[in-house]
Every structure is written in structure tokens, then in C-alpha cells.
Amino acid sequence: MKKIIFIILFLLLLCHNNLVYGESTNEILQEQEETLGISSFIKESKKYTQESFEDIDLDSFYRSALTGKIDKNGILKGILKIAGKETIYIIRTLGYILVIIIIHSIVKNISEGLENNQIGQITYYVQYILIVTLVMGNFSEVILLIKETINNLVGFLNSLLPILIALMVSTGNLVTASTVEPILLIAITFIGNIISSVFLPLILVGTLLGIISKISDKIQINKLSKFFKSSVVWTLGILLTIFVRNFITRRKLNK
């Protein structure tokens, strides 16, 4: 009797197992996507990738990545496009500077023999202003890029963090999730803010002082601009060190 009941139970168990296998991987993926909020993250991150990765649709990219197929060529092409754009711009600026220097050398050659040495000074001014204007155009572009990057970074992390936290919670790291979120958020927004509101103006003022000190040989404020620049570099380094150290100690403590 016992044996029969055992066999029936065993068969029932087998049947039950078979029933469980009916759920497809797609459904599981869908379910996890909904619980972790990945689709909203992808929707959010689309606005950061649209500019440089035009031919990559994040949604389909994510779907193909789930099955193990990653479109490496598309990513490489996008990265090359970004790098190529900047390089071409810089090379064009260099060509402009070369032309300006050639013009300057010709004009200087003409006017050097004159008794009136003011001409040489004015020529120098003109050439200097042209070069400064060109380089400044490039420089302000870089500054704008930095500001945009910081804003994007903070926004992206803000949209990425909830998913990370949800992942942590779902894998059982409740304590880490509850402590890391505020620390990370505060650190990221703090560093982003301090770079865009303190360091960028400092760098601008330092560059300005460098430009001014080159106008005349007699007025030298080069050291001040160097001081600004090195102080920015040092404070950035210290801030990042503190950030990383905090992060690591928290992680160690939470383990």
C-alpha cells in the first residue's frame, strides 16, 4: 500500500514539474523587467544616446544583449564618430593658427625694417587676438561640453540608481541598498555641482589671467593662473579620493 501511494505521489510530482516548465523565458524576462523598472530606465537613457548613437535603438539593443548578441560595430562606430568630430575640429583650428602665423611672419618681415617699432607691436597684438579668439572658441566649446557632460552624468545616475537599488534588494542586500543610495546620490550631485559652480569658473579665470599675462612682457600674472589651475587639480583629486574612500569603507562595513 505504502509503495503504491509513494509511486502515485512521485508521478504527481513529475506532472507538477512538467507544469512548471510551461513558463517561457520571455515571460520571466518580462516580469523581471517590470519589477525592476528597466523599461523606464531605457526610456530615460534614450535621450542621452540619441545624439551620438543614432543607428542604435536602445530597446532592441537591450533585447539582443539579453540573448547574448551585442552589436559591437555600432558602438565602435559611435565612439569613432564622437572622437573624429572633435579631432577634425581641433585640426581645423590648428590650420587656422598656422595661417595666422604665416600672415604674421610676412607682415612682420615687411614692417621690421621701419624705424617705427610700434607697427611690430600692433602686428603682434592682431595676431595674438586672432589666435586667442580661435583658441577661445575651442575652449568655450570644451567648457560647454564639460557642463553638459556633468548634467548628463548626474541625470543618468539619477535614473540608473533606482534600478541598481532594486537589483540589490532583489539579491538580498537590503542594508547596502538603504545606506548606499543616499551617500551615492549626495556624493554625485555634490561633486557635479562643485565642478560646475566652483571649478569651472576658477579654470576660466585662470585661463583669462594666462591670456592677459601674455599681452605684455612687463606685466606678469602667469603665476597666479598657474596657482588657480593647480589648486583646481588638487582639490579635484582630494574630493575624488574622499569619495572613493567613503564608498569603499561603506561597502566593507555593510558586508
Binding site: L114, T133, L204
Partner: protein, 128 residues
């Protein structure tokens, strides 16, 4: 072969002047004036080639043309001033030469004001 022309004009002028100075020294200054004008005019068309080249080069930079125009004008003023000052000095009128020099300098500074102001603008534009 421009240089042979210039040298020929100059040497013949010097010979004429040495001869004339013994009889009518006041005419020597006219000869020197004419010779300097002749030499200047004979090299003028070469200068225009240089200016054309510079203008062509400056067309490659956006926003460089007006600066280069000012630069050319300043160089021209400097040339003419130098020319006039030298003639005045030859004639023994150093005082007038100094005045011409002063006038040229003032003109040069007044023409370079747009450049200086644009430099200031560039600097102020960078300021946050």
C-alpha cells in the same frame, strides 16, 4: 630685374646731386625727393602682390579679413610716415619730420583701437 632699375636710378641721382651741389645746393633736395618717389612707385606693384597673397590667406580664416585690412592700413601708414620723415630729415627739417612721425603714431593707435577693443571683448566674453 627691378633691382637694377632701382640701383641705376639711385646711382645716377647721386652723381647728379654731387655735381649739382657745387653750383646750386638747393636743387639737390628736389632730386632726392623725385628719386625716392620713383623708387617707391617702382616697387609699389610688387607690394600689391604681397597684399593680395595676405588677403587670400586671410580668406581662409573666418573673421580674419577685417583685422588684416586694419593691419595692412597700419603698415601702409607706417611706410608713408617713414618716407616723409626721411625726406624731411634729408632737407634738414628735423622738427617737421618729428611732427610727421607723431601724426603717424597717433593715426596708427587710433586705427588699432578696434583690435584692442575686440581683444577686450574676447576676454570679457570668457568671464563667467
Amino acid at each position: 630685374m627691378e633691382i637694377i632699375k632701382i640701383v641705376g636710378i639711385a646711382i645716377s641721382a647721386v652723381v647728379i646731386m654731387i655735381v649739382i651741389k657745387q653750383y646750386k645746393p638747393e636743387f639737390a633736395i628736389y632730386i632726392s625727393l623725385i628719386v625716392s618717389a620713383l623708387i617707391l612707385l617702382s616697387v609699389m606693384d610688387k607690394l600689391s602682390g604681397i597684399v593680395e597673397l595676405l588677403m587670400n590667406l586671410s580668406n581662409k580664416i573666418n573673421g580674419g579679413e577685417e583685422f588684416l585690412k586694419i593691419l595692412m592700413k597700419i603698415t601702409g601708414i607706417a611706410f608713408l610716415t617713414e618716407f616723409a620723415v626721411n625726406i624731411c630729415k634729408d632737407a634738414g627739417e628735423n622738427a617737421i619730420g618729428a611732427k610727421v612721425d607723431l601724426g603717424g603714431k597717433v593715426l596708427i593707435i587710433s586705427m588699432s583701437i578696434p583690435i584692442i577693443s575686440s581683444m577686450l571683448e574676447t576676454i570679457l566674453k570668457i568671464l563667467p
